[in-house]
């Protein structure tokens, strides 16, 4: 019988998206709807002395103007998202300090970053709403601004939230082995500072919220461009004080997320509140300038790292003190910071490890997880170190890597720490040695080295660099699926995850179809709607396929079992005499006798004709919640081949290779698409993208002219190789794949650039590798060289 898992089934999502009939939040129109525009702070840090909205309120076409005082007593501030707090065993182990820093929905008394929402105008259309923004008069008293993570931890730094005492919001330590002993045994100790800049996920669709309240039944319907509709519902209920069951949150077609849409935002609370207050549907669509300023950023880590190693390249121990500059607020506990700490050693066996992480606050936009969420930062640190060790010992970096890998025979490998979900962090399977060999074979490493020598003679500078990653994917706490067969025999699946490009409708239908032995066309998957299931989590952290896939598998199997029982009643046999395939249940020994899914579904209806065995609930549906024991570890290698124009500092990516393991592949084209797309974002982070603030906390990169997202001219086609080590942690053996592509490009490309410039021994410890920056490094090295001569 044909299995659909593993096949290139064509996407069910495509028809509507290709014909312009997809429905994104901005596409929704409701009669009598008003549009909102938001006045945002032009200051990074200032006291609000007065807000005069009178002129704006009187502007023709304006319904009202709302400021913080209007929400007082009706809408509570954000505190920490409980979804991201630490499990008790992890908390007991690392004993973190995490200070609460509530974020008001609209700035109250003072603003703490440029772009913070200050007032909202509701008007007949967005043009008029923007006219009225210009009529609001806010009197600000500027306060001292801090934008640098090292400045903000100084004793005399201006304190952003006085009740916290200082700007250090969190602190934690992770220790394994005996670090002092390791350092005392080393032949070499290398110290360096490695930075990952602030970047922005920048989905092509900005955020947006529409809310409609129906007084007759107290029903509040909210459409939001979010990755986590269940989380939005939960906070709406908590912060506005509403019955959760009366709220329906829908994420319709969502135009990309990548992490920034995983947070709950003030607008997702205020817009619904205003729809209730004014009894009119309210629409707010973020524009790109607002997006650059106020949609959460990410990364912004700086690591002071020390590594102890032997003459042969064996790493004995690693010490790291790092700062994560989270901007003005942090509601995500240790999410990215702990991910960095847990992933920094990657696939290397480093028995002695000591890391201290601090999350600090500055007058910048708050940070949230973005594709990779703490891993690109950690991988950049670790893989630059591998290359530095190789440089120092004059060894091939491949050799240094090979010497330090966790070996296949060490699997499952205990890392000696807890994962963020509270389980022991164990690398379950994989063969890193073979994987790197496979990548280097595709790259033609040996031949490349010869070619490199040749081209150097012609004054051309080509280089090769690699990077490795592991990634804990498919984090819990759970995901749900409800599967039912309707009276036509069609299978309907509802899931709690919420896609924004991941192709859930296709891949999850493949999983369900295989369980019932039908074609995926007979299965419809719905997602992104809190009315589908009592509980759901969402789509982020490379978890969709693992958790929703397993939930769909579990629910489908339960329903299949039930259908076999009903069919047994219908055919008068026991279940072990039956088999299900092609949408029918057959008698094993007499395949001409069968009942169809449609007939079974009809026989499952309650009533006198019901054939559901006694003691079992009637109905043709099953709901299943998959609770993963812990994460699954995907892994991979990226290899970049680059040419550096030494004169201009421009980097051209000649080839890009990825070999990865994401366990069972549900749909190869979709997996490859995730990798290629992730690599494009990683290339952005490596060469182009950076969110920059000036000393006054003004956002310098506020448009697409300044924040450079790679175009088709900058992204090569990725050559791919696959490994398939099935995860033991879920029934299908899946590991997550969404983020992997974005994790390694900065490290692989930086290493390749350093390799191209190896005669000059330049070190690239920050990103992006802009032509200006690279040219300066080359010039410094050339000058140093000429002095030596």
């Amino acid at each position: 019988m044909k299995q659909f898992v593993g096949q290139n089934v064509k996407r069910k999502e495509d028809h509507r998206l290709l014909t312009g009939s997809g429905k994104f939040v901005a596409d929704i129109r409701i009669e009598n709807m008003v549009e909102a525009a938001i006045l945002r702070s032009p200051y990074a840090h200032a006291r609000i002395k007065n807000i005069d909205v009178s002129q704006a309120k009187n502007h023709e076409g304006v319904l009202d103007v709302i400021i913080s005082d209007d929400l007082e007593g009706n809408v509570k501030p954000f505190t920490e998202f409980v979804e991201f707090t630490l499990p008790p065993q992890l908390e007991a182990d690392i004993k973190p300090i995490i200070k609460q820093n509530p974020e008001p929905m609209l700035a109250q008394h003072k603003v703490t970053f440029v772009g913070q929402a200050v007032a909202i105008v509701l008007a007949e259309d967005r043009y008029i709403a923007e006219d009225a923004l210009g009529l609001i008069k806010v009197s600000y008293e500027p306060l001292p601004v801090v934008t640098d993570p090292y400045e903000t931890i100084k004793d005399d730094a201006p304190v952003i939230h006085p009740h916290l005492g200082n700007n250090i919001q969190s602190h934690f330590e992770v220790k394994v082995g005996n670090i002092d002993h390791a350092f005392s045994q080393a032949n070499h100790i290398l110290k360096t500072r490695i930075k990952t800049p602030r970047v922005s996920g920048n989905p092509l669709e900005t955020r947006g919220v529409i809310a409609e309240y129906q007084e007759r039944n107290q029903q509040l319907d909210v459409w939001s461009s979010t990755q986590v509709p269940f989380m939005v519902r939960s906070y709406l209920s908590k912060l506005v004080g509403l019955v959760e069951g009366n709220i329906r949150v829908v994420a319709p077609d969502v135009g990309g997320g990548f992490g920034p849409k995983c947070a709950v935002y003030p607008e997702e609370i205020i817009i619904p509140y205003l729809a209730m207050k004014y009894k009119r549907p309210v629409k707010w669509i973020e524009d790109r300038l607002e997006h650059m300023q106020s949609t959460r950023h990410s990364r912004d880590q700086v690591h002071d790292v020390e590594v102890a190693f032997r003459n042969d390249g064996t790493i004995l121990g690693l010490k790291d003190q790092f700062l994560l500059d989270n901007g003005a607020h942090n509601s995500f506990a240790l999410c990215c910071a702990y991910n960095s700490a847990a992933h920094l050693r990657g696939m290397y066996h480093i028995p002695n490890y000591d890391i201290t992480g601090r999350i600090v606050l500055t007058n910048k936009t708050p940070n949230v997880p973005y594709r990779g969420a703490g891993r690109p930062e950690a991988v950049y640190v670790m893989d630059r170190i591998i290359y530095m060790i190789a440089d120092k010992l004059n060894l091939d970096p491949v050799e240094v890597s090979m010497r330090n890998f966790v070996r296949p025979e060490q699997m499952p490998y205990e890392t000696g720490i807890f994962y963020r979900d509270g389980a022991n962090m164990v690398l379950e399977n994989g063969d890193y040695v073979k994987s790197l060999q496979q990548a280097m074979k595709i790259a033609g490493y040996e031949e490349f080295r010869q070619q490199q020598e040749e081209t150097r003679k012609n004054n051309k500078n080509i280089g090769i660099g690699f990077s490795s990653y592991i990634e804990g994917t498919g984090i819990g706490p759970f995901e749900g699926a409800a599967v039912k067969v309707d009276s036509t025999g069609h299978i309907l699946v509802g899931v709690g995850s919420s896609p924004h490009g991941q192709s859930h409708e296709t891949t999850l239908s493949q999983i369900c179809a295989d369980v019932f032995g039908v074609n995926p066309e007979q299965v419809s998957v719905r997602a992104g709607d809190t009315s589908l299931l009592p509980y759901g989590v969402g789509t982020f952290a490379s978890r969709g396929a693992v958790t929703a896939g397993s939930a769909v598998h579990g629910a489908s199997k339960q329903l299949r079992e039930k259908f076999l029982l009903i069919a047994g009643e219908m055919l008068g046999v026991t279940i072990d005499e039956l088999e299900m395939h092609s949408g029918k249940v057959y008698l094993k020994h007499s395949p001409s006798q069968f009942v169809t899914l449609q007939e079974i579904a009809q026989a499952a209806k309650p009533g006198p004709r019901c054939k559901v065995p006694k003691g079992i609930e009637p109905g043709a549906s099953a709901t299943y919640y998959f609770v993963p024991p812990t994460v699954t570890f995907s892994s991979g290698f990226h290899v970049a081949v680059v040419e550096v124009d030494k004169e201009t500092g421009f980097v051209d990516i000649l080839r890009y290779i990825v070999v990865h393991d994401c366990g069972r592949v549900i749909n190869p084209k979709i997996v490859d698409g995730q990798i290629q797309g992730g690599v494009a974002q990683g290339i952005g982070g490596a060469l182009y993208e950076e969110i920059i603030y000036d000393k006054n906390g003004q956002l310098v990169t506020g448009t697409y002219m300044d924040y450079l997202i790679p175009t088709a001219m900058e992204v090569p086609e990725v050559e791919m190789g696959h490994q398939e080590f099935l995860s033991p942690h879920n029934p299908i053996g899946i590991k997550g794949v969404g983020e992997g592509g974005a994790i390694s490009p900065p490290a692989a490309i930086a290493n390749a650039v350093c390799d191209a410039m190896r005669p000059l021994k330049i070190e690239i410890n920050s990103l992006p590798i802009s032509p200006n920056k690279l040219r300066s490094l080359i010039e410094e090295a050339e000058n140093a060289e000429s002095v030596l001569k």
Partner: protein, 158 residues
């Protein structure tokens, strides 16, 4: 005048309307005509999501006033497929090659590619395709499947 009468041929149908002169063509198509397939991504002329064809040529509808299109012909993504939903060869090629993920930028790409294929009848090189779509940003696909799709569209249209 802060209001203007416009007569625009949109996807083959002549539309006459009075609109505020300041309204962008993108908003006019979406809000006044309900053609929400044209998406708005940046409103400052960089992302290309709002690309439509004006007299057959690709333009950014967020960088045009609707009144500037008075008397001209506009084609949007809604014009591509046949009435019964049958794909245009470019759409078919995008579907065959997984050239879209979230699909938000896709209508802009389709319109850019339509003009490119009409003005470059012979099978182009990868580099020519890359340049032709470089005014459209995609944050999901990393472009390579879009390039494959464009090449396949050349085959399908024959």
């Amino acid at each position: 005048m802060s209001y203007s009468n416009v007569k625009i041929k949109v996807n083959g149908k002549v539309i006459e309307k009075e609109i505020e002169s300041r309204w962008l063509l993108s908003d006019f198509l979406r809000d006044k005509l309900g053609l929400t397939g044209t998406h708005v991504g940046c409103e400052h002329g960089v992302c290309g999501a709002c690309t439509v064809l004006l007299n057959g040529e690709p333009v950014r509808s967020c960088l045009m006033l609707a009144v500037q299109a008075d008397g001209l012909e506009v084609e949007t993504v809604e014009s591509l497929a046949e009435e019964d939903g049958t794909f245009h060869p470019i759409q078919q090629a995008f579907a065959n090659n997984h050239a879209l993920q979230c699909g938000f930028c896709t209508p802009g790409f389709l319109m850019s590619v339509k003009n490119f294929m009409e003005t470059h009848p012979d099978l182009p090189t990868d580099d020519e395709i890359r340049e032709a779509i470089s005014g459209n940003l995609c944050r999901c696909t990393g472009y390579s499947n879009i390039i494959k799709a464009v090449k396949e569209a050349y085959v399908l249209k024959c």
